[in-house]
């Protein structure tokens, strides 16, 4: 149990995917203009990450021992088809949610956080349960980063920032400071 809690805390805050591994930066800078879209995108990411964790465990245990060089290709195909599948299911089951997610759903395929999750969890040899906890932690961490970033950007929208710094450069400075703040979580498990 301790092991699982550690994996969860490590994936969500200590080694936050966006702020310390730089994964999933495209949506981090691209869609964090508004708080509600950022939150919904985070939720969609958690969902795809959980399915990817399951699929990558199945592939890694049953297929890849016979053909290790196919790792990358099979992972990316599985992710692409999972996203496609999730898109179809959501469209059928809940058209309202489908409309709310819009273009962000298909774009999850090219989010490096998803492939990164599959690679990291198989590199570390996590079993199925550990993999799922890792995916949940990473997804929540990603959502947290997206939501904090969106909130900060909404606030700085009206601030008197020089014209040259406005936009992406400003987002980078905010991200740098956030990343420094998240370094503080590294002390979380020192005492135990």
């Amino acid at each position: 149990m301790d092991e699982l809690i550690f994996i969860f805390a490590s994936a969500s805050v200590i080694n936050n995917f966006t702020l310390t591994y730089f994964l999933g930066l495209c949506p981090f800078f691209g869609v964090t203009g508004r708080l509600d879209t950022a939150f919904r995108l985070g939720l969609a990411n958690i969902f795809v990450m959980l399915i990817t964790a399951l699929a990558s465990w199945v592939l890694n245990s049953f297929v890849l021992p016979y053909a290790p060089y196919l790792r990358l290709i099979t992972f990316i195909i599985v992710i692409a088809s999972t996203v496609q599948f999730v898109e179809m299911v959501i469209k059928k089951a809940s058209p309202a949610l489908f409309r709310a997610l819009g273009i962000f759903l298909p774009l999850i395929t090219t989010n490096c956080a998803i492939l990164g999750l599959a690679l990291f969890s198989t590199n570390r040899g996590y079993d199925l349960l550990e993999g799922l906890v890792y995916a949940l932690g990473a997804g929540l961490g990603l959502t947290l980063a997206l939501v904090i970033m969106a909130g900060l950007r909404e606030e700085t929208e009206l601030a008197g920032v020089p014209k040259l710094v406005r936009g992406v450069a400003m987002s980078f400075f905010i991200a740098g400071i956030l990343s420094m703040a998240f370094m503080g979580f590294a002390g979380l498990f020192h005492g135990s």
């Binding site: 994964l23 790792r71 692409a80 090219t110 690679l119 590199n123 040259l164 450069a169 990343s179």
Partner: protein, 209 residues
């Protein structure tokens, strides 16, 4: 003569990636590797060269096959082509440069989802001749490698007091460790983006006056 403008166009495609449409500083693409592995000049260069190989290889192949690939499934075909080249570069690096390969770790595999590479296939190679696609890929990956090397050099000098592993300053130098940690990556790229925007604005003002 048709050859002259053709050559001028190819040269233009080659040069635009280096400055005018620099993938990192102007288009802000391919950020994950640009930040994650650039804590030293060596790592930035290795990552840049690996990306160059993948981009040039897949641009050539996509451009050659552009009339054969059916439009509805083109993205999947591009991804499979890119993944093949990335697997190749992954194994080659593991064999030739085991130390660098270990340091870059999963980020070599993550070249697959570098939006720069897929973007060039969709925007350029799939609708241009092999020669132009080659020029475009070389220019773009050249600009990408330069950007990564620049970020890596700044972070290594400030955060470690060395360049390419050789110490630059005397014993008394206290390294600014934060620069080789993740926050330093964000801050370095932020400052470089501001500098690029400033340089561009200055040049434009000189052109118009």
């Amino acid at each position: 003569m048709a050859a002259e403008p053709q050559r001028a166009k190819a040269l233009d495609e080659l040069v635009k990636g280096l400055w005018r449409e620099n993938p990192v500083f102007i288009a802000v693409l391919g950020l994950c590797p640009a930040l994650a592995v650039t804590n030293s000049l060596t790592n930035g260069l290795v990552m840049g060269l690996a990306t160059t190989f993948v981009l040039v290889g897949s641009s050539l192949l996509v451009s050659l096959l552009r009339k054969v690939i059916p439009r509805p499934v083109r993205i999947s075909v591009y991804i499979i082509i890119i993944a093949t080249f990335v697997t190749t570069v992954d194994f080659v690096l593991a064999a030739l440069m085991p130390v660098a390969h270990k340091q870059l770790g999963a980020f070599i595999s993550l070249i697959v989802v570098n939006c720069l590479i897929l973007g060039r296939q969709e925007a350029f190679s799939s609708r241009n001749s092999v020669g132009l696609a080659l020029a475009d890929a070389l220019g773009m990956s050249g600009g990408f490698t330069l950007a990564l090397a620049l970020i890596g050099a700044v972070r290594e000098v400030l955060g470690n007091g060395s360049l390419l592993g050789y110490p630059l300053f005397g014993e008394g130098f206290e390294p600014w460790v934060i620069m080789i940690l993740p926050p330093g990556g964000f801050l370095t790229v932020g400052v470089l983006l501001v500098l690029f925007a400033w340089g561009k604005a200055r040049l434009e003002r000189r052109w118009t006056s």
